[in-house]
């Protein structure tokens, strides 16, 4: 099979309503369709990858708006200062719950807390988290969200 690239243009003719500048623009936009065995040209810049990073945002409690960014590991939530996500709240156990990083997702796990862990208003022992979920622990509400990040250029 020929490796000759097909060159297509999307310039059209016979459209009375198009302005001259439109036509110039369309003629300048050429779409190159490469066949499978052709090596694409080397990128002029290193590619930056779009990834996402998870965080918990305090929506109710001591510091509304505070964000806790989540690395790809487990995170402890509790009243104790020694945990990853400390929440100053007497109704929260010292080590209340855990966000387990499991199979590329975060799972909320209650650690046998006195007052329980709630997901969207219902008491759960464990549940994988999805964007928009609201965790209620003691008098604190935390929303689980993602934000898009670009990997740094090299």
């Amino acid at each position: 099979m020929s490796a000759e690239p097909q060159v297509m243009t999307n310039a059209s003719s016979g459209d009375a309503h198009k302005s001259e500048s439109d036509e110039q623009l369309q003629e300048s936009e050429e779409t190159v369709v490469r066949t499978r065995d052709e090596t694409p040209p080397a990128a002029t810049k290193p590619e930056r990858l779009m990834t996402r990073r998870a965080y918990l945002e305090v929506t109710m409690g001591a510091f509304p708006g505070q964000r806790f960014y989540l690395g790809q590991c487990d995170h402890l939530i509790g009243r104790s200062q020694d945990v990853d996500i400390p929440l100053p709240d007497d109704s929260i156990s010292r080590q209340h719950a855990k966000l387990e990083y499991r199979n590329d997702e975060f799972v909320l796990v209650d650690l046998g807390s006195k007052n329980g862990s709630y997901l969207n208003g219902t008491s759960v022992h464990e549940c994988p988290l999805r964007a928009g979920d609201e965790i209620m622990i003691g008098n604190h509400a935390l929303q689980f969200l993602f934000e898009a990040v670009l990997s740094p250029s090299k």
């Binding site: 022992h125 464990e126 994988p128």
Partner: protein
């Protein structure tokens, strides 16, 4: 008692981004109680459950009790893909209703004929004990699984697990609407019922009464149900009417329609909560999600 959802979907597995919150695997619920492993239905969710047993217990020495509500595909299709079933040294007790002409082993082997699947039921090396249930199954030590016939074409059964004063119910494929007398039958199946205690199968209200958790088929919005009556699944208002009457404490909306994205299931949960608000009742109501574990 721990309850874990491994499959929450009805009819057919529906993987994909639109169902990632509630899950795409078909019906399978695990209950851990009194040092026993109980499994309710063998939809496609049972595959991951089996893999989790290997990770937790190793490949052999697993013993579990499997209760089959009925043998429509979405409740048995995962059975041939349940890895522990193929390992010698594992033991499974499988319970199906005595009300059918064919035994549960015969029905399960049907989908494992060579035309459908390469391994036969007899190729499963684990030790299998098939049991036909009537009213209840006594698992010893005070653990009893009560059964109840539900409203479904071809018959389905619900299970109530009784343990130390707690009651957890798995009742799917249950068109409760059919048991409720309608104010205006000519206009179709609508909310607005006359005393359901007079119209439901008489055993059903006592069956649900005061349950700590009910996992209930609530597949349709009321609007959808108008077009899907007699398909064997319930609408929101029918489920809420019965759960309210039976004064249940928690309700997991289950057997999500394969046509429903996460957003639609969210809407069904909201519709159920609105019913409770309008009637000034509180039942902890939520959509069952794959991977969710509840402590009862």
């Amino acid at each position: 008692m721990l309850v874990k959802f491994w499959g929450t979907r009805g009819s057919i597995p529906t993987p994909g981004r639109l169902t990632e919150k509630y899950g795409g695997n078909t019906s399978c619920v695990e209950v851990r109680v009194a040092d026993k492993l109980l499994i309710f239905d063998c939809g496609s969710g049972i595959r991951d459950l089996g893999i989790s047993y290997f990770e937790e217990f190793g490949t052999t020495g697993i013993e579990a009790h499997i209760f089959i509500s009925h043998t429509h595909w979405d409740h048995i299709q995962g059975f041939p893909f349940f890895p522990p079933a193929f390992v010698r040294g594992n033991t499974f007790y499988v319970y199906g209703t005595a009300a059918r002409r064919e035994s549960i082993s015969s029905l399960l082997s049907g989908q494992m004929q060579p035309e459908y699947f390469p391994a036969k039921l007899d190729d499963m090396a684990a030790s299998f004990h098939y049991r036909a249930f009537k009213d209840s199954v006594d698992l010893g030590g005070g653990l009893v699984v009560e059964t109840a016939e539900l409203y479904h074409p071809g018959m389905s059964h619900g299970f109530a697990i009784h343990w130390e004063g707690k009651k957890v119910i798995y009742a799917t494929d249950n068109e409760l609407n059919l048991g409720l007398k309608l104010k205006d039958e000519a206009a179709g199946y609508k909310a607005g019922y006359v005393d359901p205690r007079q119209t439901l199968m008489p055993h059903l209200i006592p069956f649900f009464q005061g349950a700590d958790l009910v996992i209930a088929d609530c597949q349709y919005t009321d609007e959808e149900y108008a077009h899907k009556a007699t398909w064997g699944h319930a609408s929101v208002s029918a489920v809420m009417t019965v759960m309210t009457l039976a004064q249940v404490k928690r309700l997991a909306i289950f057997h999500h329609d394969p046509l429903h994205s996460d957003r639609v299931v969210d809407e069904i949960v909201v519709e159920a909560k609105n019913y409770l608000l309008q009637n000034e009742i509180y039942i902890d109501t939520f959509g069952a999600r794959e991977g969710m574990v509840l402590k009862i």
